[in-house]
C-alpha cells in the first residue's frame, strides 16, 4: 500500500486533473480488465451466488487477497483527497511528520468508530480507510525522493515502535480490544507503518548500491530480473495467487507438514503464471496502442 501511494502520487503528478473521464476510465480499466477473467473463472468453477450484486460489490468469492481490487477502486476516487491533504499541510509549512501524525490520529478515530458501531469484519475488510496511513506515507516518501530530501535516519526512531507492535501482535499473542482489533488484519494494521516506512526509505536511500550489488553476480542478475518482472506484473501475480490459494490449495488438507511443499510449489507457479498473464495482456494492450497510433498517423496524413 505504501508503494501504491508512491506510484499513484507519481501518476497524479503527470495528470493535471485527476477527475477527468479519461483518467478515471483508464485507471478503472487497468484494474478491472485483468480481474474480470479471474471473476469469470470463479463463477465457472464455483457457480453463481444467491445475491449477485452484493457478491460483486464485495469482490466476488472471498479468497486470499480478493479485497485488494475493491480497495483500489475506492482509492481511485479517494486518492486526490489524500494528496490534497499532503499539499495543504505543506502549504502551511508543516513537516511531513506532522501530516503523518494527523493521518494516524484520523485513522485511530476511524478505528474507534468501527468499534463503537461494531463494524462487521467483512465490511472492514473492504474499506480502504484502514490503509490510509500507508497510502499517505507512500506520498510522503515519493515527495522526499523527488525533493532529494530522503534521509532515513530521520525515521529511525519509528523502528522500535513498529517492531514492538509487530512483536507483540505477531509473536507474543497480544490482542487489542478497541483499536486495530480485527485479528485478521493485525499484522497489516496502521502501527506497522512505523516499521515498514523506515525500511522502505532505507532501500530507496541505498538503491544504487543495492542494484549494483544485485547485478554483480549471475545468480543475482537472474534473481533481480525475475523479481523486477514479478514487480511489473505484481497485480497479475496477485490475481493468480488469489485463484491459486482460493480454488486450488484450499481443496487440499494444508496440515503443517505439507506447508513447506505448498510454499515451494506456490511461489514459482504463481509468479510465472502471473508474469505470463501480464505479458499476454501487455502484448495485447501494446498492439492496440500501436494500432491506435497508426490510425491517428493515417488520419493526419489524409
Amino acid at each position: 500500500m505504501i508503494l501504491s501511494g508512491l506510484t499513484w502520487d507519481a501518476s497524479a503528478a503527470r495528470h493535471s486533473k485527476w477527475y477527468t473521464k479519461k483518467n478515471l476510465l483508464h485507471k478503472f480499466k487497468r484494474m478491472a480488465l485483468p480481474y474480470l477473467p479471474a471473476l469469470l473463472l470463479k463463477v465457472l468453477v464455483l457457480g453463481l451466488p444467491d445475491d449477485p450484486l452484493i457478491w460483486l460489490a464485495s469482490g466476488g468469492y472471498q479468497m486470499p487477497g480478493s479485497y485488494y481490487v475493491i480497495l483500489m477502486f475506492q482509492l481511485i476516487l479517494l486518492f486526490p483527497f489524500i494528496r490534497r491533504f499532503y499539499n495543504w499541510n505543506k502549504s502551511k509549512g508543516r513537516s511531513w511528520l506532522v501530516g503523518l501524525a494527523m493521518i494516524f490520529l484520523f485513522h485511530c478515530v476511524y478505528e474507534l468508530l468501527t468499534y463503537v458501531f461494531r463494524m462487521p469484519l467483512p465490511v472492514y475488510r473492504l474499506l480502504v480507510l484502514r490503509y490510509i496511513v500507508f497510502i499517505y506515507s507512500g506520498i510522503c516518501l515519493h515527495r522526499m525522493i523527488l525533493g532529494g530530501k530522503l534521509d532515513w535516519k530521520d525515521m529511525r526512531w519509528m523502528l522500535p515502535i513498529g517492531a514492538a507492535f509487530i512483536l507483540a501482535i505477531g509473536y507474543l499473542g497480544w490482542q487489542p480490544k478497541v483499536l486495530f482489533r480485527y485479528s485478521t488484519w493485525y499484522r497489516s494494521s496502521a502501527p506497522t507503518v512505523f516499521w515498514t516506512l523506515p525500511i522502505l526509505a532505507l532501500v530507496f536511500r541505498h538503491k544504487g548500491k543495492i542494484l549494483a550489488k544485485a547485478k554483480r553476480w549471475k545468480a543475482g542478475q537472474w534473481m533481480y530480473k525475475t523479481l523486477q518482472l514479478c514487480g511489473k506484473a505484481s497485480y497479475h501475480v496477485y490475481i493468480v495467487q488469489m485463484l491459486w490459494f482460493g480454488m486450488v490449495i484450499s481443496r487440499f488438507n494444508t496440515a503443517s507438514y505439507r506447508q513447506v511443499i505448498i510454499l515451494v510449489i506456490s511461489v514459482p507457479v504463481c509468479c510465472f503464471l502471473g508474469i505470463g498473464y501480464y505479458l499476454l495482456t501487455h502484448i495485447k494492450i501494446t498492439a492496440k496502442d500501436k494500432e491506435t497510433r497508426d490510425s491517428h498517423r493515417l488520419g493526419e496524413m489524409k
Binding site: G65, A168, G173, L179, L200, V237, C271
Partner: protein, 73 residues
C-alpha cells in the same frame, strides 16, 4: 532538487527499485498465504495483559509493556 539528465537517471533507478520492491512484495504475499499463521504465540503474556480493566489503555500500552516484560524475562 535534481534536474535534467541526472533526474532521468534517478527516475529510472527509482522505477527499477519500485519494480524490485513490488516483486519482493508479491513473493512475500504468496509465502504468507502458503504458511498462514506461521508464528508462535505466548499465551501467558496475553493472560497477564487481559487483567487490565481499561481496554483503551490495554491497546495503547500493551505492546510496549509486553516487549519490556519479554526483554526483562
Amino acid at each position: 532538487m535534481v534536474y535534467g539528465k541526472e533526474q532521468n537517471i534517478l527516475q529510472t533507478e527509482h522505477s527499477q527499485t519500485i519494480d524490485l520492491l513490488k516483486g519482493i512484495c508479491a513473493v512475500f504475499v504468496i509465502m504468507l498465504h502458503s504458511i498462514p499463521g506461521g508464528y508462535t504465540k505466548h499465551t501467558a503474556f496475553n493472560a497477564v495483559l487481559r487483567t487490565a480493566d481499561d481496554p483503551i489503555l490495554y491497546d495503547l500500552v500493551g505492546p510496549y509493556l509486553g516487549c519490556l516484560g519479554s526483554a526483562a524475562l
